[in-house]
């Protein structure tokens, strides 16, 4: 996988910073170096408390990589640093947090265990509630640590609990286990585990011709229940909103296993919907050091402007909220977005309206399947 990624990096991508996928001893070695360096600097003739240099996870440090021959592009982080310093009031607390989480990870790695982010949060909440009042601080600090040690979150022994689900014409087989037929998993589908190692080892088989990425779990359930994949030979996948790394990883694995299958996205007609689509397609800045690896060339199937004007009744349109406009604004200013997407978004902002996928139920519950079929047959995706 590494090789594949690296081979596609052209000269312009030389500034790319990434998190390595490492074995536990390798990560431990990095932690040890960090600790020893800290002690050395502190014990030096002119002692100092060293700052922690992190790769900045801000949009100003993000770059876009574009394929030369394909329209595949993704977001990655460049070499700009920000510092966590004990000496600065506003970063002192996060400085301490990084060290505390680093210690935790070291102990986890020593025992070759894996914990979820949630588990880590509860553990830290017991030890030092002042520093970690909520999951937010834990997640943020883990990303700080990723940016400091430049190894992936999974390498640190931390996983996110799985959120994704997959259904449709896909046979999955864990090593030494029976194969699972995702078309018989019912409406909730096969849950995608947060354990990337396990996902990596899955054996996949399919006779589908399309992969359909669905924004919402409710729509996913509707499609699975209606067995849409029987009419359209397809695999359905959802992450229930913004995708977690595991779902992206899984989708990326499928796209490599079945490179000729188009991946089609079905999202709400609102800025957040497009943002979710873009997270699958380009990766994200927040997890920029590893997310770029799992960017997949998702095409925007719907809902789009034409669907709205032709299929959605006027009364189902809701006014855009300030939050929507904020997301739209940041999307429009992003370099990575292709022009056709920007046009769609601009029309949405101009109309001042948004619509849920469920608005299509106006034509009956079974309409959703027909809608998908029509769009796919017409190759009506961008």
């Amino acid at each position: 996988m590494e090789e594949l990624c690296k081979s596609s990096i052209f000269f312009s991508d030389q500034s790319l910073c990434y998190a390595d996928i490492l074995s536990p001893p390798e990560v431990r070695a990095r932690i040890e170096v960090a600790v020893l360096n800290f002690i050395k600097v502190l014990n030096a003739p002119t002692p100092e408390i060293s700052d922690l240099p992190l790769i900045s996870r801000k949009s100003s440090n993000s770059r876009v990589s574009r394929g030369l021959l394909t329209d595949v592009s993704w977001i990655f982080l460049s070499q700009s640093f920000c510092k966590r310093s004990l000496m600065r009031e506003n970063t002192a607390k996060s400085f301490v947090r990084v060290w505390m989480v680093m210690k935790m990870c070291y102990q986890i790695l020593l025992q070759e265990k894996r914990v979820t982010q949630r588990e880590l949060f509860y553990k830290l909440l017991c030890d030092s509630p002042d520093y970690f009042p909520s999951q937010l601080q834990v997640n943020g600090t883990i990303q700080d640590l990723v940016a400091l040690l430049r190894c992936s979150r999974f390498s640190l022994g931390i996983m996110a609990s799985g959120r994704g689900a997959v259904a449709g014409r896909l046979l999955l087989q864990e090593p030494n286990k029976e194969a699972v037929d995702c078309s018989t998993c019912g409406s909730s589908g096969y849950a995608i585990s947060g354990d990337l190692n396990l996902l990596e080892k899955l054996i996949m088989k399919t006779d589908a011709r399309y992969i359909i990425v669905v924004e919402k779990h409710a729509i996913f359930q509707r499609l699975a229940e209606d067995c849409v994949f029987n009419h359209i030979p397809s695999i359905l996948i959802t992450a229930k909103g913004y995708p977690d790394i595991a779902t992206r990883f899984f989708l990326h694995r499928m796209s490599r296993a079945f490179p000729e299958m188009p991946i089609l996205g079905l999202v709400d007609w609102n800025p957040a919907g497009l943002a979710i689509l873009c997270t699958y397609k380009f990766g994200s800045i927040g997890m920029g050091l590893e997310a770029y690896r799992y960017a997949c060339n998702v095409k925007w199937l719907g809902m789009r402007m034409d669907d709205i004007s032709q299929l959605v009744p006027e009364e189902s349109l809701i006014n855009l909220k300030p939050k929507d406009l904020q997301i739209a604004k940041s999307l429009l200013s992003s370099d990575v977005l292709q022009d056709s997407y920007k046009e769609e978004l601009a029309t949405m902002v101009e109309s001042g309206r948004r619509a849920e996928i469920e608005a299509l139920y106006f034509h009956g519950y079974e309409f959703l399947g027909k809608y998908l079929a029509t769009k796919i047959v017409q190759a009506n995706y961008i």
Partner: protein, 673 residues
């Protein structure tokens, strides 16, 4: 003349109507004298209720006194005294015998048997509850003093005396200056303090309505060897003064100015705070004046004496009378100007009776008016149609904006001094805008923003001034209030709108303040020119404050940093030491090889040379070191950036004082006793 005629007719008709009393009266054409009009509509001039009447009377007298002193460029000294006169004293004053109540039930405050029962039952209940609470060991609240049956601050009578060191009044003009409504010296286009030019006259009408006692005026002008004394009241129906005494008296002291004494009905209890606020804000906007305010009553504990000392001797210039701007005149005004002008022809009229019309400009304007007009045509020969044409052209044509030269703002310096003097804020910033124009009248906005101070409430405290008088009523809809509360993002200036003690001072001066409402107590929010000017001024102040606040925050952080950082040290050492310990175990058990330096460190850990404590000490040491360096750096930096010092104003000593001199070869130290 007309008044006399019409007053006859209703008399005649009344008689005929009295025979058929049930039939509604036919509307009778009546004529009111201006004094009557204001007596009927006294709320227009701020005489709504006894309490407000007392307030407005004080206000009118103070403002007259300031105007008078400023008109001769004298630093004002204003003494205002309110003396409470209880009913019995008042009665004896007017020679009314004290009446005992005979029929108690006739009075409003009579307590009927039923009400008494109710009250007693309630008191008993309260006592019971208190006893219970006391038993339970709860904190016993002081029993709320049951309010006197009379209700909140019964209206009483007050003698208001105001003495100034102003110009004084010419002996012969005094009766007309007080006894005739709508005759005044302040008419004309200039920035004035008054509202309608009613001033003391309205107070006189009120005294006439409430007490019937006359006003007493003592006045002396510079160079006069006598003092004028006049006691008069007003004939409301005829709008003429009714003079009791008007005489010249021997001058006892060297003094010029006026002293006015008036007895009115009022309510000190309810308007006490308003009157004190007014005095305080007046002192803010006129720091060059000295105010002595006294309230005297029979109960010594209620007495109030406040002295607002002078803080500067720099006085804003006297506002100049200006000519009208062509875009600010209406038809009637043009006609009046034509009637009053001394100029002969149209060209001169345009050129001299208006601002911003030069000779060549006037010629072009006349050309534009049409063939009926010529330069030399006589002003008096203009027909009504022609005047309408002139008016229309004034409306349509473009003129330069009037300059703000005729305005007399308080001045940034004075505003600042006033704020510092009265509020003692932690920080203050002031800003003075340039003159702008609304409907042909120039206006100028000055603003001050203060943070902190004594007697200031948390949140935004707004102080409004129009033509250098404080506005205290109808604050909600005012342009300043709206702007300060809605359109200023205090957060972006590091000011906490809810927690900080913020003072917002905005002074607007203009030849015509566009007041809203009958009370002339606020300026509407719908005038975008003024709203924008107010907003910019406040923002300018805030920007100045921001840098100061940032510096202060920096200083505070500097102080708190050390404590904060030390708090973090145990957690950092804990995390790092735990990793080190694991490593040293690995090293000791030879499961992993470390080399050179690293091995040395790990050996030290194993041998307890590096421990949790030593690590913590080392960190603390370094934090201290860095702190010291930063403190040093900060001190040198802030030493350089110290604010410019402000001049202090030392009051001059009046009269002869006894003093002792301490001589030294280089100086003399004089101690005044």
């Amino acid at each position: 003349m007309e008044i006399g005629e019409s007053s006859e007719s209703p008399e005649g008709k009344k008689k005929s109507k009295s025979k058929t009393p049930r039939k509604p009266k036919d509307s009778v054409l009546k004529q009111k004298s201006p004094a009557e009009f204001f007596a009927d509509n006294k709320n227009i001039a701020g005489f709504d209720n006894p309490g407000k009447c007392l307030y407005t009377t004080v206000r009118e007298l103070v403002e007259n006194a300031l105007d008078s002193a400023e008109s001769i460029s004298k630093l004002p000294i204003v003494e205002i005294t309110i003396e409470e006169i209880v009913r019995s004293k008042f009665n004896s004053m007017i020679g009314l015998a004290e009446h005992e109540r005979v029929d108690e039930e006739l009075y409003d405050d009579f307590e009927s048997a039923k009400a008494r029962e109710k009250r007693l039952a309630k008191e008993a209940r309260i006592q019971e509850i208190q006893a219970k609470n006391a038993n339970l060991g709860k904190k016993v609240k002081e029993p709320v003093a049951s309010k006197a049956m009379k209700g909140r601050g019964e209206t009483s009578y007050y003698r208001v005396t105001c003495k100034d060191n102003g110009k004084g009044m010419p002996h012969d003009d005094i009766p007309n200056m007080f006894g005739r409504v709508l005759s005044g010296t302040k008419y004309g286009l200039k920035q004035t303090r008054g509202k309608f030019g009613l001033g003391a006259k309205m107070a006189l009408i009120w005294s006439k309505m409430s007490t019937g006692l006359p006003i007493e005026i003592t006045s002396s002008m510079k160079g006069q060897n006598y003092t004028s004394f006049c006691r008069l009241d007003i004939d409301i129906h005829r709008n003429i003064p009714h003079i009791h005494v008007h005489e010249k008296q021997d001058k006892k002291e060297r003094w010029h100015g006026a002293e006015i004494q008036i007895v009115i009905e009022g309510n000190w209890t309810t308007y006490r705070s308003k009157i004190l606020h007014y005095m305080r804000q007046m002192a803010v906007i006129t720091p060059y004046a000295e105010f002595l305010f006294r309230f005297l009553s029979d109960a010594p504990d209620k007495n109030v004496t406040v002295k607002f000392a002078r803080r500067t001797d720099i006085m804003p210039p006297v506002p100049l009378e200006t000519k009208y701007h062509p875009s600010a005149v209406d038809l009637l005004l043009i006609k009046r100007l034509i009637a009053e002008t001394s100029k002969q022809n149209l060209l001169q009229l345009l050129q001299h009776e208006f601002v911003n019309i030069s000779k060549s400009h006037a010629e072009r304007l006349i050309g534009e008016m049409g063939p009926d007009f010529s330069h030399k045509m006589l002003v008096k020969s203009l027909t009504s149609q022609q005047i309408v044409r002139i008016h229309q052209l004034f409306r349509q044509a473009k003129f330069d904006d009037p300059s703000g030269d005729c305005l007399s703002p308080a001045g940034e310096y004075n505003l600042r001094l006033g704020i510092i003097k009265e509020l003692h804020p932690d920080m203050v910033a002031t800003y003075s805008g340039s003159a702008q124009v609304f409907e042909g009248h120039p206006f100028l906005v000055e603003a001050g923003v203060s943070v902190g101070g004594k007697d200031v409430k948390q949140g935004v405290n707004i102080f409004r001034f129009a033509n250098r008088i404080p506005l205290l009523f109808e604050q909600g809809a005012d342009v300043v209030t709206r702007t300060a509360l809605k359109r200023i993002n205090w957060n972006s200036y590091k000011i906490n709108q809810a927690q900080d003690k913020i003072g917002v001072f905005v002074s607007i001066v203009s030849t015509k303040i566009p007041f809203k409402g009958t009370g002339k107590e606020y300026i509407g929010d719908d005038i975008s020119e003024i709203a924008a000017a107010v907003k910019t001024s406040i923002q300018q102040c805030c920007t100045q404050l921001k840098s100061k606040i940032l510096k202060r925050i920096q200083a505070r952080e500097q102080q708190e940093r050390k404590r904060n950082l030390s708090k973090y040290i145990p957690n950092v050492t804990g995390a790092i030491y735990d990793v080190l310990k694991e490593m040293s175990h690995l090293h000791a058990s030879k499961r992993k090889r470390y080399t050179n330096e690293d091995a040395e460190v790990l050996n030290k850990v194993s041998n307890h040379i590096i421990t949790r404590e030593t690590l913590g000490e080392k960190l603390a040491q370094h934090v201290e070191q860095v702190d010291y360096e930063m403190a040093l750096e900060y001190a040198t930096q802030s030493g350089v950036n110290e604010e410019p010092r402000e001049n202090i104003y030392i009051q001059t000593l009046e009269g002869e004082s006894k003093f002792v001199d301490f001589q030294s070869p280089v100086f003399v130290f004089r101690l005044f006793q």
